[in-house]
Each structure stands twice: as structure tokens, then as C-alpha cells.
């Protein structure tokens, strides 16, 4: 018996919700980044699930682009964290209020 595609969609929604909670509540910059990676991964699962449902390759192709964007985002973001850590000796986002006001 084959697994219904909507189960994958529901699993993806659950992963996305977990990632959202993490991104909103964590204070360590790296942990926020990890949560965002989790959300991107959940979006990828939805794209592949719909590619299966509609029997089209477009969803899988978009996943490649999402992967590339995630890699670029991780590289630039982590470099920014290194730069911030050199200046302030912390990446606790509650204490980084330079651009808040």
C-alpha cells in the first residue's frame, strides 16, 4: 500500500512549525540559523511531495535552487556572525540591538 501524499505534506507542515518555534524563541544566532535550515528543508519536502502528486519534475528542480540559496545564505550568515562575534564577543540576539531602532 502506498503512502498518501497528504501525509508527507502534513509531516512537512509539522517540521516547518517546529522550525518556526525555534527561530522565534532561540537567542543564540547559530540556533536561529539551524531552525531556518529546518524550515527550508520542510519547504523542500512539500515541493518534492507535490512533484510526486502532479507527476512533474518542476518541483524537484526548484529544490535544487532552494538548496543553492540555502548554501549561499548559510555562508554569508555565518560569515556575518563571525564578524559580529569579533566586535561584540557574543551572538546572543537579545544583546545585538545595533540595528533595532
Amino acid at each position: 500500500m502506498s503512502v498518501p501524499v497528504s501525509w508527507y505534506l502534513l509531516l512537512s507542515a509539522a517540521l516547518f512549525a517546529i522550525g518556526t518555534v525555534g527561530a522565534l524563541t532561540r537567542r543564540n544566532g547559530i540556533s536561529i540559523f539551524l531552525s531556518i535550515e529546518l524550515m527550508l528543508n520542510a519547504a523542500n519536502l512539500t515541493l518534492v511531495a507535490y512533484a510526486r502528486q502532479l507527476d512533474q519534475r518542476t518541483g524537484q528542480l526548484i529544490v535544487f535552487f532552494v538548496l543553492a540559496v540555502a548554501a549561499a545564505e548559510a555562508a554569508v550568515g555565518l560569515a556575518l556572525f563571525i564578524a559580529v562575534f569579533r566586535q561584540r564577543h557574543t551572538i546572543d540576539v537579545n544583546r545585538l540591538n545595533l540595528m533595532r531602532w
Binding site: 500500500m1 502506498s2 503512502v3 498518501p4 501524499v5 497528504s6 501525509w7 505534506l9 502534513l10 509531516l11 507542515a13 509539522a14 517540521l15 516547518f16 512549525a17 517546529i18 522550525g19 518556526t20 518555534v21 525555534g22 522565534l24 524563541t25 537567542r27 543564540n28 547559530i30 540556533s31 540559523f33 539551524l34 531552525s35 535550515e37 529546518l38 528543508n41 523542500n44 519536502l45 518534492v48 512533484a51 510526486r52 502528486q53 507527476d55 519534475r57 518542476t58 524537484q60 529544490v63 535544487f64 535552487f65 538548496l67 543553492a68 540559496v69 548554501a71 549561499a72 545564505e73 548559510a74 555562508a75 554569508v76 555565518l78 560569515a79 556572525f81 563571525i82 569579533r86 546572543d92
Partner: protein, 177 residues
């Protein structure tokens, strides 16, 4: 059989995702993210997207997570202190997540998706994927290449020590005086 594999790896993905979000130590959270990504890669295989699954393990678990680990060790991060805990913020985020899940769960119950067509050798083949990527989607592909180049340059510039003019500065300073 397929249902069993789905449930095993769905449970693994959900459990390790919870560890990613809940664990105080960034190193354990990152290693747990690897488990989530590999479980999702197995689900990609079940969905008839083997190449995406392989790419997920290579790029995400192989490259991005290693980058995270390097930065965590470079910064020598301490565990997050539990003082002045999130409190209201946590409850608001949980409420939002539950509402989001409930809304989507309701939507998936209302709209019954028809059973997808069975997988064929043609629909999972790498050849079709490649011809689409380098045919119809060639321009986005080139733009993504450009984006990665910009990201590499940007990361190099951002992570440079302040006051350091360029990468070969040491030699130049020795020559200058």
C-alpha cells in the same frame, strides 16, 4: 512496507527536529540536524526523487552542516544560559505553531488528493531532470551560479579581520618599509 519506512523516518525526522530546536548546546543541535536531513533524504527516495535525496545528503549534510560545525567551534560558543527565559515569547510561538498546524491539517482533511500516478522508470530518471535543468531552466541555473559567486565573495569580505586591507597584506607590509 513503504508505510513502515515512511513512519520510521517521519518519526526520526520529527524527533531530531525537536532536538534541534530544544537542545541548549549548538553542537548537538547541529548533529541532530544531520539526522533530520538524512531522514528527509530517505523520504525523498520514497517520493521517487533519488537525485534530490542524494543531493540533500551531499550538499546539506555534507557541506552546510560542516560549515556550521566549523563556525561553532571557531566561535567557541557556550551553552545558552537559561536566565531570563523566553516565557511569553515561547508560548506565543507555540500557539502560532499549533494554529498553523491545525489550519493545514484541516485543509488536508477537507481536500482529498487523488492517488498519484505510479512511478515509472522515465519519471525518476536523471536524464529528464538534467534536460529540464539545462534547457527550460538554464537562465535560473546561471543566476544561481552568480548568486553563489556573490555569496562566496561576500562571506570572504564579511569574515575578514577589520583593518586588514587585503589577503596578501603581510607580504606587502614587509616590502613597504
Amino acid at each position: 512496507m513503504e508505510t513502515l519506512i515512511f513512519f520510521i523516518f517521519a518519526a526520526l525526522a520529527l524527533g531530531s527536529a525537536l532536538v534541534v530546536v530544544a537542545h541548549k548546546s549548538p553542537v548537538y543541535a547541529t548533529l541532530s540536524l544531520v539526522l533530520t536531513l538524512v531522514s528527509t533524504a530517505v523520504l525523498f527516495l520514497l517520493l521517487g526523487a533519488p537525485f534530490v535525496g542524494v543531493l540533500q545528503v551531499l550538499v546539506y549534510a555534507g557541506a552546510i552542516v560542516v560549515l556550521f560545525l566549523f563556525v561553532i567551534m571557531l566561535l567557541n560558543l557556550q551553552k545558552e544560559g537559561s536566565a531570563e527565559g523566553p516565557g511569553a515569547q515561547l508560548w506565543a510561538a507555540l500557539l502560532g505553531a499549533v494554529l498553523f498546524l491545525g489550519m493545514l491539517g484541516l485543509a488536508f482533511r477537507r481536500v482529498a488528493l487523488p492517488a498519484p500516478p505510479p512511478l515509472t522508470a522515465e519519471s525518476v530518471s536523471l536524464k529528464g531532470l538534467a534536460s529540464d535543468l539545462f534547457g527550460e531552466y538554464l537562465l535560473p541555473f546561471e543566476i544561481v551560479g552568480l548568486l553563489l559567486l556573490v555569496a562566496v565573495i561576500g562571506a570572504t569580505v564579511a569574515a575578514r579581520r577589520p583593518g586588514e586591507p587585503a589577503s596578501l597584506s603581510e607580504n606587502e607590509e614587509e616590502i613597504a618599509p
